[in-house]
Amino acid sequence: MKTFQLTRPEDERQAVATAAKAKTAQQSADIRFIAGGTTLIDLMKLNVEQPQNLVDLNRLRLDKIEASPDGGLTIGATVRNSELAWHPLVRKNYPVLSEAILSGATVQIRNMATTAGNLLQRTRCMYFRDTAMPCNKREPGSGCAAITGVNRNLAILGTSEHCIATNPSDMNVALTALEATIHIRGTKGERTVPIGDFHLLPGKTPQRETVLEPGDLITHITLPPPASGTRSLYLKLRDRASYEFALASAAVVITHANGKITRARVALGGVGTKPWRSPEAETELTGQPAIDAVFRKAAEAALRDAKPQSQNGFKVELAKRCLVHALKLVTENA
């Protein structure tokens, strides 16, 4: 691990000012915020990340969960994942979020990992994590070893010829279906970004994963109030029953009235280069009865643009069945 300086800012303003001196807020950032450290320290040990300055956010008191005045929820950037998953308001109003978080990692890691850190969780593509291999995300222009290599776990949606790395987060998939808003404090003041616009597709610049610029500090995220009659659910399929990343997952937020789906929000995990919202599936579901044929049509629509690689073709059907089953479970006895 390369050596670094540890900075302990007293407030948000100092944190932003320190980080604003970075050349980039993306891959290879020379200045990094640190809170839980579960992704960053792992990558620093692998020399995939080599920041010269770490800015400790743990003293900034960004660790509150509060009901918003509009009936939604405000979640601080450094709220630990376990805190969020077990919070009574999350259990009651946003079960999809609780289930998604609890399906990921382990108790120890969830006790450390934070909301903003999870938003910024890095891919588990093994070529990204191995500095001996080419990887356009880690080292732009070096090539993608995954496209011709071991790609069973990698993405089938949103890929480019430069990168097929999957966004590994479960929490992000739930937040996408819940239409979360990300609140950022930067050098020019505060701004908000809808989660759908926060993560970028790899395109020609897979090293750029989010819209964050140097100095940008995620302070909190907000969730809109749950619509009445809405149910939500997260279903995750993986190689083993616990402590494993998704091969395919589905977050569904469904409002059901008089035998029909009146509103649908669908996001997929384990298959996309970013948390994958599917407006195509939502269109197929809206106004339709909650029956298998409709679910299957939605699933077909969600995966229409899937581009499988040499080893992950199975994910296309797996993701479809995952979505169908999630929709079935969430509308049962509605």
Binding site: F4, I109, S242
Partner: protein, 219 residues
């Protein structure tokens, strides 16, 4: 496993003098680099000068930071390299060698400690991030003459073979007692999935934990 047992016998064996905090991976990649850059140069102490690679060792460097830690109720004032993980700090600076280094990447749970009452992975955190935290290691849970009920249950149920993962297992199991874990074995297994046992003592580990949970309820 020889490097591991060596480390056990002598925590100072992994001193930064030879190769810094080398893992097999960094050792091999540095060996490769040095081979390329100084084809005949032997890898010796101070190899950075012969190979031209950046020194990565954590010798009493100028970058050391003051850190005040509270571990098992005792206060420690240290000056450490900021790269020191909490695990390395506990083992090598405070000589609390109960917490084990298995994978050093947050995948095995052998390094589990309690921070402010919650179980966390000491290998995935820097010691310098824990000023003001209340840290508890296995040494603070119980001692041979006064074992925690969970330690006694692990003995009673033979919940280990080689014992390397055991301290981490017990730290997780003790924390589990206060977590929202359902009553069934399946739920215990889910809550314990962050602690790998390569000997495969899982059945006995679950039995030991359930024994303590039933006892706690009865009491």
């Amino acid at each position: 496993m020889s490097d591991r047992s060596e480390r056990e016998k002598n925590p100072e064996a992994e001193s930064p003098s030879a190769f810094g905090r080398s893992t097999r991976r960094t050792f091999l990649s540095r060996l490769g680099m040095a081979g390329l850059m100084a084809s005949a140069g032997p890898i010796t102490v101070g190899a950075q000068s012969s190979g031209g690679t950046q020194p990565e060792s954590a010798t009493a460097s100028n970058d050391a930071v003051p850190v005040a830690l509270r571990v098992n109720g005792k206060k420690y004032d240290l000056r450490i390299d900021p790269r020191t993980t909490l695990l390395d700090c506990l083992r090598e600076h405070l000589h609390l060698t109960g917490s084990k280094k298995g994978c050093d990447h947050g995948q095995c749970g052998a390094c589990t400690v309690h921070i402010n009452g919650r179980r966390q992975l000491s290998c995935l955190s820097f010691a310098a991030l824990h000023e003001g935290d209340e840290i508890t290691t296995i040494e603070g849970i119980g001692q041979p003459e006064q074992m925690h009920p969970m330690q006694a249950a692990f003995v009673e149920y033979d919940a280990y073979q080689c014992g390397y993962c055991t301290c981490g297992q017990i730290m997780s199991a003790v924390a589990l007692l206060k977590e929202p874990c359902g009553p069934d074995d399946a739920e215990v297994k889910e809550f314990m999935s962050g602690n790998i046992c390569r000997c495969g003592a899982y059945q006995n580990i679950v039995a030991a934990i359930q024994k303590v949970r039933r006892g706690a309820k009865a009491g």
